[in-house]
Amino acid sequence: MLAPQHNYTNLSSAVGLGLIGFNEKDIVVDYGCIFFDSFVYASRLCKKVVGVIPSSERRNTLQKRLVEEDVKNCDLVNANYNEQHFNEVFDCVIINCFLEQLLFEIKHDKSNFFDGKIRSKKMDNSLDETGIGFLQTVYKGLRPGGKIYLSYANKLRINILFKLSMLEVMSFVLSYNLRKYLGFVSFIKNIYLLSSYLLSQKGLEKLLKSNGFVDIEKYAVFPDHKYPLKIIPLSKLDECSFEPVQYISREGSLRRISAGVKRRVDRLIFKNFKLFGLSPSFIITARKAS
């Protein structure tokens, strides 16, 4: 049963989810509930939405929004649930800001999105393991044929690389027993994996494939994944025509000039040279193999 129609807010920022094509029978889980508009949008089109939200502060804010919007077909759970409760019931998984959430997992060295038992077996605290663990949880929660939607900002590739490198350096410096805890080889390996997953689209694709996902589609997103104005499927570049999005330029000639320069640079990078690997954000959709 869908929610009754009222004059609700404009949910245009959730436009990326239009790629999914929700069904009114779908049961959806949103990991992190990063974008409230996305959560509300999914609730409007699906049977039920479950939000997994680690921060109590954010949960309270989201709950207020849901009351305002009269959203009733949803539930919010904190992040420390046990993954064994997933019984392949979800038709779709939404993960906005995928890389940031991965960073959160590593930074806090605790399980938010998957069982601690799995983590304890994996003594090598690498991004590889974290990424796989995260996606394994997602995979188990999906029904065969279910969809996954990931969005993330490209600019964070550098930030995350820097932050994780710092974490690794700190661990290396502070550990009492270097040989037992973290060897120099492991340190190098983690840096390599970061480069592999975060600096390369192929790395993420490989990660998804190795976790049982198929029909992987990648999209370049402009100007960002928080409010997309242009989304281009990377497998259809020949059929898509790229025109730079209008950057919102407030009053002031400098800002207008800056927006104009940005448009020209975008036209050069994306229209002329088709360097879509440099897109500001990405969306990835995939399906669990049936």
């Binding site: 129609q5 609700y8 245009s12 239009g18 790629l19 999914i20 069904n23 919010l76 409760h85 499927p233």
Partner: protein, 259 residues
């Protein structure tokens, strides 16, 4: 805090899941709360407009009325489908033919413009109920030889036949705007062409017409007076160049075409 097992319903029989490859063309243009996707489904390509609010639903439903009016008695209409989900979706086939940029100018398009005026005179006169497209511009036409398709009916509304010509005058003004690079200064050859278009448009039109005596001023007056019919969800001056233009400029073009 509810525990997860209680939250989840018993798994139902899996329903069909469709994932289509889509390109987002525009999103929330002029705050219309609508996204336009180009969808690739197997070998078929079509466009989908999706609403993201109740306002968007209203606009999409209105657009369907426009297609119904324009493609009445045409097979094309069967391919234009409105799905009334919580947020409405309108699927429109990809029409084959020549397309035009949103910043099209007069130069190089003279024949097409004359052809469109002819088409307008025939098509708009033949329909029992008079209507206004509301955003007629070269970029909304797809032309394959003599087969003319018209898209983007968001601002469609029924009107009185005495406002015949509004859409063409609006289109000419947009062309002037881009041709002159927003200065409204055109050379004699272009001005002569605009006058030629006007003469082509008024031929055979009755005296009761409320647009064509002072075409540019009257069109602006119509737009401002009936702004609510255009279903614009933003400042109308930002949406239509005609609405933001000064009286002196409109008087200038009126005097050129009518003298």
């Amino acid at each position: 805090m509810a525990s997860l097992p209680h939250l989840l319903l018993q798994p139902e029989k899996p329903h069909d899941i469709t994932i289509m490859l889509c390109e987002l063309i525009t999103n929330n243009t002029h705050n219309n709360n609508i996204a336009l996707y180009k969808c690739y489904n197997a070998n078929k390509v079509f466009y989908r407009k999706t609403a993201f609010s109740q306002w968007g639903n209203k606009v999409i439903e209105n657009e369907k009325k426009g297609y119904d009016w324009f493609y009445k008695d045409s097979e094309t209409l069967t391919e234009i489908r409105l799905k009334k989900k919580y947020f409405y979706e309108l699927d429109i086939p990809e029409f084959r033919g020549r397309r035009f940029s949103s910043e099209s100018i007069i130069s190089g398009n003279e024949e097409t413009i004359e052809m469109i005026i002819d088409f307008y005179k025939g098509r708009w006169s033949s329909n029992d109920i008079f209507a206004i497209h509301g955003d007629l511009a070269l970029c909304n036409f797809v032309i394959d030889k003599n087969n003319i398709k018209l898209v983007d009916w968001e601002h469609f509304h029924y009107s009185d036949k005495k406002f015949f010509g509004y859409d063409i005058i609006n289109m000419l003004f947009i062309l002037i705007y881009h041709e002159s690079k927003r200065t409204f200064s055109l050379n004699k050859r272009k001005l002569d062409f605009i006058k030629k278009c006007y003469i082509q448009l008024i031929e055979g039109v009755g005296n009761s017409n409320k647009i064509l005596e002072k075409p540019f001023q009257n069109s602006k007056d119509y737009l401002m007076k009936y702004a609510d019919r255009f279903l614009v969800n933003t400042n109308i001056y930002k949406k239509f160049v005609l609405s933001g233009c000064s009286l002196s400029v409109l008087e200038h073009f009126d005097s050129i075409v009518t003298k």
